[in-house]
Symmetry: C2
Subunit: 545 residues, 2 copies
C-alpha cells in the first residue's frame, strides 16, 4: 500500500545517487575504522564516528546548498509495508518517530555491527531504549540521510476478520522470534535481554494462551466476588479509575519467566508437548499498580481468615467455547506485605500494552508467569485452587519416568515459585567469536531465582565444566526479597591454542540452591522447569589479530 | 569399676548354665524361624516369636520353681563398664531401665537381625523409641533372662579434670559415629534416621563447636540487650522460670542439618577443611519453648523498626580465651509469625539435653544448624550481623575455583536457608542386599529442604541415573511452611541378572528446586552445602532364594 507513488520516484532516484556516494565512501571508512566486536568496543567507537560523520554531512549539505526534502513530499508506508523490507535483497527498512529509513547501505558502517539488523522491518525505538548512546542529535541527523518515507497516518489496525478470533491481536515487532502465531508466543533475541536491566515492553517476551481480548478501558470493571455465605465480605466492582484513585499506587521491579523457558533443550533430549521456547522466555519490567492486598482488604478480607486458602484470578481472554484463562495463588501470598502481589496497570512507566494484559493484570513476584494472569476480569477468594486447565492439568512438574499414559496431574503441586535459573545470552550457540587485542572475550547472561531468592553467584566455565570462574553481577539493590534477575558478565582470556569452546553457566541463589548439571534427569513430559546448566559451543576466530 | 564382685560370681555361673541351654535351643529355633531381612518382615515376625518364647519361659520357670534373683543381689556396673562390652569377644552388654544385660547369645535370635548390635555397650531406650514393637511386656520379660547386673546408683559424672575443658561434657551413646571427640561431633547410623519420623534425643546428631558449658538452671539468665541509644527498648533478664511462665509455650517440629552434612563425599573429590561428616548430620525433633518474637516484643521491638536488620545470638559455650560461640539471623525472620523462631527448653518432650543446649537454645526453622545457637546466653538486636568467626569466616559457600589462598569471606553471604537435600540411609554403601521372595528390595532415605519448602517428590534410580522411580513419602501435614523432612521408601524389583546396583536419590522441593547431579562442581573449600545426588553401590545376593 504505497501512496503518492509519483512523488516517490523522484525521491528514490535522488536516494540512489546518495547510495552510490555511500558505496564509494563505505570502503574508505571501512579502512579507517576498525570496530571491535564487543558491545563495549562498539559503543566507545561510536562517539568518534559520529563527530566525523556529522562534520562530513554538514559540509556536503553546505556544498550542495540542497535543503532537506519536506516531509509531506515523502511517500507514506504502512507498518506492513516496512515489514517486507528485512533483508539486503528486499532492502532493509526501519522506522523511527513515524519516519521510514532504508539503512541497507549503513549496515556495514554501523559501529554496533550487524546488531542493527535486529530492527530490520520494524521500529528502532526498542533498541535505542537498550543502547542509550543513540539518543543524541548526531545519530538522529545521521539517520535522516537514509529517509525514504513516512509512516502512513492511516496505519490503523487492519479491519478485523470476524471469523478469526486472533484478528484483534496487536501488531508486534518483527525482531521477536515467534514460537506460535495464534495464540501469539514470542521471545526476543537473547542478547537483547542483557543489554539493559529492564526489558523494553516491545521486546518483553509474549506468552498468550488465547486471543488478546479487546477491552474498552472506559467500560472495564474488575469484579471481586463474595464467596457464598461470607456475609462479612463486600463484593466489589472497580473501574480503572476506581483502582487508580481509591488505592495507593505502588511499583515493583519483577522478572517474569515462562515455565517453558529453555524447553527446546528438553525437547532435544526427548520430545515434549509445548512451545519450543529458547532461553529468552524471561524478561524484567517495572510494574505500576495497586497492591492486591489493599483491594482484598477493601473487600473485607484479613490475613487470618480461616478456610480461605486460595485467590483465583480469571482473565477476560477466552476460547471459542467461552472458557476463560485462569490461575490461582495462595491467600497467604496474596495478603502478605512481603510478597508484594500487584494489580498492574503500568509497565515500565507506560500504560500496560495489549499483549501484556491491558488494562489490568496480576503481577505475582517470584512466581511462574502462568499465575500472573493478564486482562484480569475477576478475583475469587476460595477454599479451592483455580479449577482451570492451566492450574490443574498443566504447569506442573513430573519425574522423567512419567509419560502421557501414566501421568496423574493430581499428584503434583501447581508450579508457583520457580527454581534458580541462568543462561548465556551472548555469544549465541554456534557463533564464531573473536577475542579482543588482549585475547579476551566477553560472555553475558542472566540469572534469576523464584520466591524472592536473590542470585548470589554465577559460575562460568569455558572448558565444559572442568574449571569455573565467577562472573560479575549487576542488579538492583533490594532490602527485602529480590524479585528481579541479575545480569552477569565475564571477561575471560582464551588460551592461544583454543579453537572451540564449550561455555557453561550455573547460578547460586540466596538459599544456596544450585542448578542441576544436565537436562535428562529433570526431563518431564510438559517440558517445564528446565533449569539445568546452560551450555553453548562456539568457535574461536583469532585470525583477525 | 565392678562392685559386689563376690556376688557376681555366683550369678554369672548361673548365667553360664543359661547360656548353654540357649546354645542348644538356638539351633532349633534358627531352623524353625526364618526371619526376613527387611524391617517390615522382622517386625511382623516378632509377634509370633514373642508368644512362643514367653510360653517357653513361663514353663521353664514353673518347672524349676526358681524365683527371679532379687535386684540387690546383682552386681553394680557403671556406664563406662558397660561400654567395654561391645563385641562378642568381650560379650555384648546393653542397659535398659537401670539394669544391665548380656545379650551376646540373643544376637542371632533377634528378629530384627544384627541391628541389635547398634545398642552394644549402651542403652536400649533410644532404639526401642524407634521400634515401637519392643514396648511390650513380652519383650521386657524376655530381656530379663539375660540380666547380669544393675547400673550403679553412684554412676555420676566422673570427677572433672580441670585441665581439660571438655571434661564436663556429658556421656554419649556408643552407637554414635564420632567425627571429633573434643569438641564432640557425632552422627547416628544413617539407617536409624529413617526408622522414625522423630529422631530420639540420644541419636540426634551432635555438633558442638566448643566444650559443653555446665549451666546451673536455677541461676541461668537470658539477657536481651538494649542497643545503645534505643531508649524505647527495654533490656531484659529472664530466668528459665520467667521464660516458662511469662510467655506462652509453643511447639514446632523442625529438622536441623549441619552445613557439613555429607562432607565426606566432597572430601573424596578434593580435600576440604572440616569434620568428615557422613550423611547423618541431620535429624528431626519436636521442640518446645517460646517464640523469639514474643520475647523481642516484650523487650519493645516491633516488626517495622528501621535500622534493625539482625538478631545476634551469643552462646554460653566458650574457648579458653573466653570467645563465645555466636551467630545471627535477620530481624525480619526473628519477628515473623510465619518463620516460627523458637527459644527452646524442650526436645521431644524432655528437658533440653546438655549436648543440645541445656537449658535454652534457638531453633530457627529451615535454617542451617549453625544459626540455631545452643546454651543461649545473650540476644543482641543490631544493624549488623554477628561478628563471630562462625558467621563471618565460616559457613559460607564459594565457587570451586576459590582456594585458601584466594578466599575472601566477605564476598559470600552467610548460609541461612539450606538447599534441597536427600540421601539414602538403607542399605549402606557397599552392603550386600538380598531381595525378598518376590525379588524386591526396599530402599530408604530422607529428603528435606530449607526455608520452609516442602519436599514434593523423591526420584530413585537403581541403574545409576538412567531411569527413575518415584518413592513413597511420609511426613507431617502442615498448613504453612514445612520445617521437617520427609522420609521416603521405595520397594523395587531387581532384574534377575543384576548383581551390582548403583542406587541414586534426588529430591524436588515445593519451589521445584532440584539437587545437582555431581559433587565436583559444587565443591568448596569448607566442604559445606553438599546436596548433590546421593549415590551408593551395593551387591545383590540372590543365593538365599
Amino acid at each position: 500500500m504505497q501512496k503518492q507513488i509519483f512523488m516517490s520516484v523522484r525521491i528514490c532516484a535522488s536516494r540512489n545517487e546518495s547510495r552510490q556516494n555511500h558505496s564509494t565512501e563505505k570502503e574508505s571508512r571501512a579502512n579507517r575504522w576498525k570496530w571491535g566486536t564487543t558491545t563495549a568496543g562498539a559503543l566507545l567507537g561510536l562517539g568518534s564516528f559520529l563527530i566525523f560523520d556529522t562534520q562530513r554531512k554538514k559540509a556536503a549539505l553546505a556544498e550542495s546548498k540542497k535543503e532537506p526534502v519536506p516531509l509531506h513530499l515523502f511517500p507514506q508506508y504502512t507498518r506492513d509495508d516496512v515489514k517486507k523490507h528485512k533483508s539486503p535483497s528486499d532492502r532493509i527498512w526501519v522506522t523511527y518517530a513515524g519516519e521510514v529509513f532504508d539503512i541497507t547501505d549503513f549496515v556495514d558502517l554501523h559501529p554496533g555491527g550487524n546488531r542493527i539488523l535486529l530492527a530490520a522491518g520494524g521500529a528502532l525505538e526498542p533498541f535505542w531504549a537498550l543502547y542509550g548512546v543513540h539518543k543524541s542529535e548526531h545519530v538522529i541527523e545521521l539517520l535522516q540521510e537514509y529517509k525514504v518515507g513516512v509512516l502512513s497516518p492511516d496505519d490503523k489496525e487492519p479491519p478485523r476478520d470476524l471469523s478469526d478470533p486472533y484478528s484483534g491481536d496487536p501488531s508486534r515487532h518483527p525482531v521477536l522470534k515467534i514460537n506460535s502465531q495464534k495464540p501469539f508466543n514470542a521471545e526476543p533475541p537473547p542478547e537483547m535481554l542483557t543489554e539493559n536491566f529492564i526489558t523494553p515492553n516491545v521486546l518483553f517476551f509474549k506468552r498468550n494462551h488465547l486471543p488478546v481480548p479487546n477491552i474498552n478501558p472506559d467500560k472495564y470493571e474488575l469484579v471481586v466476588e463474595r464467596p457464598p455465605g461470607a456475609k462479612w465480605a463486600k463484593p466489589l466492582k472497580l473501574s480503572l479509575k476506581d483502582l487508580k484513585t481509591k488505592f495507593p499506587r505502588h511499583e515493583v521491579t519483577v522478572t517474569l519467566q515462562c515455565a517453558g523457558n529453555r524447553r527446546s533443550e528438553m525437547n532435544a533430549i526427548k520430545p515434549v508437548k509445548g512451545l519450543d521456547w529458547g532461553a529468552a522466555a524471561i524478561s524484567t519490567a517495572h510494574w505500576g499498580g495497586v497492591w492486591l492486598r489493599d483491594v482484598l482488604s477493601d473487600a473485607g478480607y484479613s490475613e487470618d481468615l480461616p478456610n480461605v486458602r486460595h485467590v483465583q484470578f480469571e482473565g477476560l481472554d477466552q476460547d471459542i467455547t467461552g472458557t476463560k484463562y485462569g490461575a490461582s495463588i495462595s491467600f497467604k501470598r496474596a495478603m502478605s506485605k512481603d510478597c508484594e502481589v500487584l494489580l498492574a496497570y503500568e509497565m515500565n512507566g507506560e500504560e500496560l500494552p495489549k499483549d501484556h494484559g491491558f488494562p489490568l493484570r496480576v503481577i505475582v513476584p517470584g512466581v511462574v508467569g502462568a499465575r500472573n494472569v493478564k486482562w484480569l476480569g475477576r478475583i475469587i477468594v476460595s477454599e479451592e485452587e483455580s479449577s482451570s486447565h492451566w492450574q490443574q492439568n498443566d504447569y506442573k512438574g513430573f519425574s522423567p519416568s512419567v509419560d502421557w499414559d501414566t501421568v496423574d496431574f493430581s499428584t503434583s503441586p501447581a508450579i508457583q515459585d520457580l527454581p534458580v535459573q541462568s543462561a548465556i545470552t551472548e555469544p549465541r550457540p554456534g557463533a564464531t567469536i573473536t577475542p579482543d587485542h588482549d585475547g579476551k572475550v566477553t560472555i553475558k547472561g542472566y540469572a534469576w531465582s523464584g520466591g524472592g531468592r536473590e542470585i548470589v553467584r554465577v559460575d562460568v566455565s569455558l572448558d565444559g565444566g572442568k574449571t569455573w570462574k565467577v562472573a560479575d553481577l549487576t542488579g538492583e539493590e533490594t532490602k527485602g526479597p529480590t524479585w528481579a534477575w541479575k545480569l552477569w558478565k565475564l571477561e575471560a582470556t582464551i588460551p592461544d591454542e583454543q579453537k572451540e569452546l564449550t561455555i557453561i553457566c550455573k547460578a547460586v541463589d540466596s538459599s544456596y540452591n544450585v542448578q542441576p548439571d544436565t537436562v535428562a534427569p529433570i526431563w518431564n513430559l510438559r517440558g517445564v522447569l528446565n533449569n539445568a546448566w546452560h551450555h553453548i559451543s562456539v568457535t574461536v576466530d583469532k585470525d583477525e589479530h
